[in-house]
């Protein structure tokens, strides 16, 4: 062989090599529940903003799984508005006077996607699994609260008992995270239940799933147990519901404009005005329930352990300006740890410590922080310097921090910007290296919100990165969790909000709306009052 390979053969061989690399010895067909086939009608494509961990709503940490999962599960009850519930899987329920036991009567005609009938035992299996440490449930674990056990009273009657009074359980049971799963499927799929399969009772079941890319739901043709909250009963109008993960906001927006997606979540605020002008697109804007963008001060580390320093931030920062310049005026200035649509929100919080830069200077003067020659205040040889930690993945955080830095400078506070990527950031703030860091959360139970932010059990590495420990506040939060009487609960909530403000544990910057956008051809999208879950059960697509 004089010339060895010819060029063509060389290229052919190279091609075969590449082919072999591309070929899929890795591809493995995974078991999945029998696809429910029906006459093909409409497919709605949903532009999803984030990849997620698992298909299993009862173990996930991701609110995106909640949004998707609500279509695959049915909650025990539906939340109509704050504190008001309608039947779903449960036709009726009673709550013991001390809020430690909830008795649910279940519908008798409900079947899981694999054909297993829904019964009280399934509820028990689902809830017991959530609290089993081996399950490593996250969001659901916090929602199930002080769960003790479930008692099967009859085929379709179950009593859920708690170790302590738990007034917010109906709210928890209205979220997708406590959706009921098929015990048969759980046994059958073992380790793959959650990562690759998920079987429940909802109007859609999973047809296919490519992690990090796309999940296709297909309608459940046997579905005949819709809550009266919705417009119809029977199978959904949509044939398929495809959740396509498109993390880049401008790309997600572009897919809506080209018609590749019908619906997108998390519309970038900067694009909002432009999208609203598009005659083919409709925007859904719902104030988001939870706790808006806020600043957590580390109460254990000087100088943010001083009330005067924290108060100076509150009196100086122009929340309105921040909402306008960073969030394009889409967010509203925030007042309280609770968003205004949550039960028990105290409107007085907006008037309590209004912006007053001169007063901020006085507060610092009185606390002994004297203006230094370089424009930074000093006390006892120590400069008034705070380390502001933020995650670099979200560019908005850098913008907010730069805004705050610029505002605090004339008052004599030197704000150091410390941007870090995910793992490094969590390492820093969990060990308490920060003076200041951000928080933002969604949720419909005010008691739970306050617990996340202020309860001492969440301090020292948990969600209470204020590292705030206060016995009186703990008692208040525990009382709120136990109080079933709405009037008393409201009073306790107001007390806790006032206390949080008086001690200036945090600053509340802006309350964001949930921003969704869809093609005008898509109609009848239901969104819950908290703006957390767009729901496509009644949805149709016009041609």
């Amino acid at each position: 062989m004089s010339r060895g390979m010819t060029r063509r053969r060389f290229l052919g061989a190279a091609g075969a090599g590449l082919g072999a690399a591309a070929l899929s010895p890795f591809l493995r067909t995974l078991p999945r529940p029998e696809a429910v086939l029906a006459q093909s009608t409409d497919t709605l494509i949903y532009g999803m903003a984030s990849p997620f961990d698992t298909l299993d709503v009862t173990t996930t940490t991701s609110s995106y799984v909640g949004r998707m999962g609500l279509h695959i599960v049915d909650p025990l009850v539906w939340s109509v508005k704050a504190g008001e519930y309608a039947p779903s899987l449960a036709t009726s329920w009673t709550v013991s006077p001390d809020a430690t036991a909830y008795t649910f009567t279940l519908r008798e005609d409900v079947k899981f996607h694999d054909g297993t009938p829904l019964n009280a035992e399934a509820v028990k299996v689902t809830f017991d699994r959530i609290v089993d440490p081996a399950t490593k449930a996250q969001t659901a674990f916090s929602f199930i609260g002080p769960y003790d056990r479930s008692e099967v009273l009859g085929t379709h009657q179950v009593r859920v008992r708690f170790k302590r009074p738990y007034a917010a359980f109906l709210n928890a049971a209205s979220t997708p995270y406590l959706g009921i799963i098929s015990p048969t499927a759980l046994r059958r799929y073992g380790q793959d239940f959650g990562p690759v399969v998920f079987v429940s009772t909802g109007p859609f079941s999973i047809q296919s799933y490519q992690s990090g890319q796309e999940i296709t739901l297909i309608r459940n043709i046997n579905y005949n147990w819709a809550s009266r909250v919705h417009k119809h009963n029977g199978p959904p109008y949509l044939q398929r519901l495809v959740f396509r993960i498109i993390t880049e906001p401008s790309t997600r927006m572009a897919t809506l404009e080209t018609g590749e997606t019908h619906f997108i979540e998390d519309v970038p605020p900067t694009d909002l005005e432009r999208v609203k002008r598009n005659p083919r697109i409709n925007v859904i804007e719902v104030p988001q329930a939870g706790s808006g963008w806020s600043v957590m001060f580390n109460q254990q580390r000087p100088p943010t352990n001083e009330l005067a320093v924290r108060r100076a931030f509150q009196l100086t920062i122009d929340k309105e300006g921040l909402a306008k310049s960073v969030w394009s005026g889409v967010h509203k200035p925030a007042c309280s740890p609770l968003t205004p649509n949550l039960f028990g929100f105290d409107p007085e919080t907006c008037k309590k410590y209004p912006r007053n830069v001169d007063q901020a200077r006085r507060v610092l003067d009185e606390a002994g922080w004297q203006m230094g020659p370089d424009g930074v205040r000093v006390k006892g040889g120590q400069k008034l310097q705070v380390n502001y930690y933020f995650r670099t993945e979200n560019p908005k955080l850098r913008e907010m921090t730069a805004f705050i830095q610029a505002q605090m400078k004339p008052v004599g506070v030197d704000v150091q910007l410390i941007g870090q990527a995910g793992p490094a950031y969590f390492q820093s703030v969990r060990t308490g290296l920060h003076h200041v860091q951000y928080w933002w959360d969604t949720g419909t139970d005010p008691g739970q919100m306050l617990r996340i932010l202020y309860h001492s059990s969440n301090a020292g590495g948990g969600s209470n990165r204020n590292n705030y420990r206060n016995a009186e506040m703990d008692t208040l939060i525990d009382q709120i969790g136990a109080e079933g009487n709405p009037q008393k609960r409201r009073e306790l909530l107001i007390k806790a909000q006032q206390k949080a403000l008086d001690e200036q544990i945090m600053i509340f910057l802006t309350d964001p709306p949930s921003l969704f956008a869809h093609q005008r051809t898509v109609s009848d999208i239901w969104v819950d009052w908290g703006g957390l879950y767009p729901y496509f059960y009644d949805t149709r697509i016009a041609r």
Partner: protein
């Protein structure tokens, strides 16, 4: 020639074994206890850690663990992702084909465009063709890929509506990402090809060939290009590996699944089984590319075979 290829092939074996060793040792080399890394961020009791150690076999001698690791690789058992609990082979399988598709398309585009521009600008050196081609190359080298990608989406998807914005599968979904990724590598290649061709053009044997009265086209293909391509092919080989595993930005902007994005996401959440598996696969692809590059040297320059 066959003997040479066989020799090169045999030489890859120690490389591959070394790679598996390094990938295996990665977990033991990073600071911290592997059991704690696997247990995740949550608070764990010493008993739970002991269970994790037992499950992972961390209590056994390291050589035994390594041999166990090798035997698992051979049966394609790479464990499960710590984050999604999905088998790693499945996670990778979902992405390999789309990454390969994009890499091949971008590579083809980069090669054709890069070589063409490089050769043309070398042949017509200092003419307007050269200036135009090299201006393109400078713009291409300096252009941030996310900007180019966004512009391509704006023009070809939103304004003209010719191609879809996102996704994998189907030729029309491949065009924009391949353009974004390929154009930028073509610029690098064009500059390299130009300088390499210019160097060969000044060699005495080219003058000899001309004085023999050979036609320009024969001189170009037989004498100039073949010799100019040795450095070019080295770079092309490396670039293919980069296109395959380093297309993170392209994959993010066009919402395409891919190995690069999988790796970066896994690093951000310390998903060790995934990190190990992707690094292993990407390294193997580099080994394969190097092998192809070496073989192509021998094809281009017979002297190399006898070294």
């Amino acid at each position: 020639m066959l003997e040479y290829v066989a020799k090169r092939l045999l030489l890859t074996i120690p490389t591959v074994v070394t790679i598996t060793l390094v990938v295996f040792l990665m977990l033991h080399a990073v600071p911290g206890d592997p059991a704690i890394i696997f247990a995740g961020d949550k608070n764990v009791t010493p008993e739970q850690l002991a269970v994790v150690r037992l499950e992972m076999g961390l209590d056994r001698p390291i050589m035994v663990q390594y041999i166990d690791y090798l035997s698992r690789i051979l049966v394609l058992n790479l464990g499960r992702s710590l984050y999604s609990r999905i088998p790693v082979t499945h996670e990778i399988g979902n992405r390999v084909s789309s990454s390969a598709e994009l890499a091949v398309a971008a590579f083809a585009l980069a090669s054709v465009l890069g070589i063409l521009l490089g050769v043309v600008s070398a042949l017509w050196r200092s003419s307007w063709v050269d200036v135009a081609a090299m201006s393109f190359a400078i713009v291409g080298v300096s252009m941030p890929i996310f900007w180019l990608a966004s512009m391509l989406i704006f023009v070809f998807a939103i304004m003209l509506g010719w191609f879809p914005v996102t996704g994998a599968g189907g030729l029309n979904r491949l065009v924009l990402p391949a353009l974004a990724l390929g154009m930028i590598s073509s610029a690098t290649l064009a500059r390299l090809v130009r300088s390499s061709v210019l160097e060969i053009l000044s060699q005495p044997y080219v003058t000899t060939a001309r004085s023999k009265g050979l036609r320009e086209i024969v001189i170009l293909t037989r004498h100039v290009l073949k010799n100019a391509f040795i450095p070019v092919i080295t770079v092309m080989g490396l670039q293919f590996g980069t296109l395959l595993s380093g297309a993170v930005i392209t994959e993010t902007v066009f919402a395409r699944p891919g190995l690069g994005k999988l790796l970066v996401d896994a690093i951000l959440i310390k998903d060790f089984p995934v990190i190990q598996a992707v690094i292993l696969i990407v390294s193997l692809i580099y080994v394969l590319m190097n092998l192809l590059v070496d073989v192509s040297y021998a094809f281009l320059d017979p002297r190399i075979r006898f070294d």
